[in-house]
Amino acid sequence: MSEQEPLLELKGITKEYYGNRVLTDVCFNLRRGEILGLVGENGAGKSTLMNILFGMSVISETGGYNGEVCLEGTTVNFQSPFDALAAGIGMVHQEFSLIPGFTATENILLNGEVLHDNIVTKVFGPRMKTLDFPAMRAIAKNSIDLLGVNISPDTLVAEMPVGHKQFTELAREIHRPEMKVLVLDEPTAVLTESEAQVLLTSLRRLADTGIGIIFITHRLQEIFDVCNRIVILRDGKVVREVATTDTTMPQVAELMVGRDLSGHAAASTEYDAATETILAVEHLWVDMPGETVRDVSFDVHKGEVFGIGGLAGQGKLGIPNGIMGLYAAGGKVRLHDKDVPLNEPAAPLAAGMAFVSEDRRGVGLLLEEALDWNIAFTAMQAQNKFMRPLLGGLIKWRDDRAIRDLAQKYVKALDIKCTDTNQPAQELSGGNQQKVCLAKAFAVEPDVLFVSEPTRGIDVGAKSLVLDALRSYNRDKGTTIVMISSELEELRSICDRIAIVDEGRIAGILPPTASAKDFGLLMIGRRTHEQEAVNNHD
């Protein structure tokens, strides 16, 4: 085996989506028998990079990429996942792509079945070939054994525990003899700790057979357990490529999250902890798919900007959605010392809370309706604003003029780019749509405003406009804001305190001036002893 020649080499990969650069000059290589850890925050470009490697159609549909991918010294440019598979690149996704009603064997050899001829094929051709089950079973058994787990090849996937499904998927990728590079995207996310350990052991064993493995995970501990080298991505660039033995976990966490900007973070005024508590959340649980909140308690003080951060899928988005009654929730939410009922979207609105959803197009807007409706609707329905009572209040007549005036006021105040207030919301750009969502929440004139991922999917200029609007709204009206964001830098630039959510629980609450390292450690579920002490103290 020539250890010198890299198995897979990425040279200067650059990719833009509609003028939005997501990968810049990414270079790294992968050697035979090596496990390479790829880490980075959400949106750092990991999935785009893997899509390029795997020839996903989304890449060519959006104009392809620049740079070169070399497999064993020859440049390749896959047009579809089939090309990538044929060339020996396999991928295990976070979501299972298995057929529940098929056995492990059938899933592992799907579209690669061992066939043999029979009488019918002589007449009707190769489409009538029958499956050679014993041979298939043997192959499946082989590749399962290689992983070092004990799964019967005849078990139906539907009847397997989650961990076994993940192994079945892995077995499907490795049964092919041409397999050279294996990409694992968060394979341990759904596994228990012991299952994850078994998986890591099998990865090592696989690597020893000469396969190169790219391992993507948020759990840094696993990277340090199993990887030879680590590539850290941030904002589409490789910020560091380092051998595992030459670095420490805090170092990696810091690199992942970003430069330490404590100097000019915390733009807001001095935070005064003595102000009264406006919102108290106790033992909140929320059943939001993919963002489960298990047990969250926190207090928000009047007039502050409270940030909630954390990695995707850890439950930070579930908190506002649960409090606003959009997903099944339990626990206690108190506003101004009064209980707010959960699971009824009208109740928190009536109590004086408003919400700018992270799902702008799905929940935040009436895409086909005019701007003025979009802005006024929530206030109209929840608070009977913009209504003229007719016949002694029997009929609540919509006051179209008041709605238009309101919309015009916010179009001007937030600088929403539109032809007029009758334009349907779907015709606006992402940034302007987000401003409409903000205007909708402002129109409710809430005491507490939840803002979820306010800058997701909008360009840099619009980002700062949106953040400025929030900041000035907080300053001028004294509105308490709870902002949920995946972008730590954004939270640090605007918030007075930042809570980090990990596995459905608050891992810790830090001031924005805390170091990137501390935030990084909270995000990956590794709290330091001091923070533990602070938490217990609360």
Binding site: L349, A350, F355, W373, T378, Q381
Partner: protein, 347 residues
């Protein structure tokens, strides 16, 4: 040039094509010996007869329940009102409005149950609605036989029990709206002022309703149910209200239809009443989840106009009696055309 283009964009090609076809039929009519004034009267009367039924499509479309293929349910409520009104011997205007009054409780009750059902089958409303319509018609086929009606105008002459398939309104409230302030010009032209006024009233009520808080909420529910829910609106409640409204309009609509037609048609009568209404609103430019009163008016004029004109003109042109065949081909063809033309938006 640009103004013509925007006009075309606004009206939509399907409507322009159908309107031109209708116009050419009117132009061709004298050549084959069909009287234009008579045809105009027929078109206007048919518009008035069907208009309210078409209006009844609007609420359910607006809340995202789709086209009300379950309109027969509302029609059944109307038929109950009509037969009860006759049973009580109400005649004249009292008979007609009495029938409406008697039909309303049934319409509200049936609509409420129908709404609860549709809330359980979100996404498949139109298919379920079709079956609700058909099965309710079949159920009522039995009930018309069994219900204890006694009025001799309605029950079968021989057995003395069970209602006839067709009941004449001759002595009750035939043409009660048609003849109210009717304008007659010459032998062949009649404008049914009362019926058109009644349609205008029903359209106004619908328009006004969509300007209230509840009406606004209903539109938002159809546009984006998640948005409406996040704004504290009960999606299921709005949908139920819309279904009740559709059913009530169906009940009133069939009474308007019958007073002009002169007969109450029971048993399989309501079976295919939903399709022309669906076709009309689609031709009027409504989509599966957006409709307004203009769509209903334009659609009814075009659809009923074509339906009136095509058989008579074609019959006269080819000198044979194919009117029923041509009518069916035209009306079903228009439905297929309208469904393919309707802008289907994913929700």
């Amino acid at each position: 040039m640009t103004s013509i283009r925007t006009l075309i964009d606004k009206a939509g090609w399907p409507r322009i094509i159908i309107a031109l076809l209708l116009l050419s039929l009117f132009l061709a009519a004298p050549a084959v010996g069909v009287r234009v004034d008579q045809s105009l009267t027929d078109t206007i009367v048919r518009f008035g007869m069907n208009g309210v039924l078409v209006l009844g499509m609007i609420p359910m479309v607006q809340t995202g329940c789709g086209l009300n293929f379950g309109l027969p349910l509302g029609i059944i409520a109307g038929l109950l009102g009509a037969t009860l009104s006759i049973e009580f011997g109400l005649t004249g205007a009292g008979g007609f409005f009495g029938a409406i009054g008697l039909a309303l409780p049934f319409a509200v009750l049936l609509g409420w149950g129908y709404g609860l059902l549709l809330n359980r089958v979100k996404g498949d409303e139109m298919m379920i609605a079709t079956y609700v319509g058909f099965s309710s018609v079949s159920f009522m086929c039995m009930m018309w036989m069994l219900l204890p009606y006694h009025s001799p105008t309605m029950v079968w002459g021989y057995g003395g029990t069970g209602l006839r398939t067709t009941i004449s309104l001759e002595r009750f409230w035939v043409h009660i709206l048609d003849d109210f302030l009717a304008i007659r010009i010459g032998q062949n032209f009649m404008f049914p002022t009362g019926m058109i006024l009644f349609f205008a009233l029903m359209a106004f009520v619908m328009w006004a309703f969509f300007h209230t808080k509840t009406g606004t909420a209903m539109t938002a529910v159809g546009s984006n149910p998640e948005y409406a829910r996040a704004s504290g609106v009960s999606v299921d409640r709005m949908r139920t209200i819309s279904v009740i409204m559709s059913t009530v309009y169906g009940a009133i609509g069939i009474l308007v239809y019958q007073q002009s037609f002169g007969f109450v048609q029971l048993y399989n009568g309501p079976f295919f009443m939903a399709l022309p209404a669906v076709a009309a609103i689609l031709i009027g430019g409504a989509s599966v989840n957006k409709a307004n009163i203009t769509n209903a008016i334009i659609g009814t004029v075009l659809f009923q106009g074509i339906l009136t004109m095509t058989p008579s003109v074609i019959n006269s042109a080819i000198q044979s009696d194919l009117s029923e065949v041509v009518r069916i081909i035209v009306s079903d063809g228009m439905i297929v055309y309208a469904l393919t033309r309707s802008t289907r938006k994913s929700r």
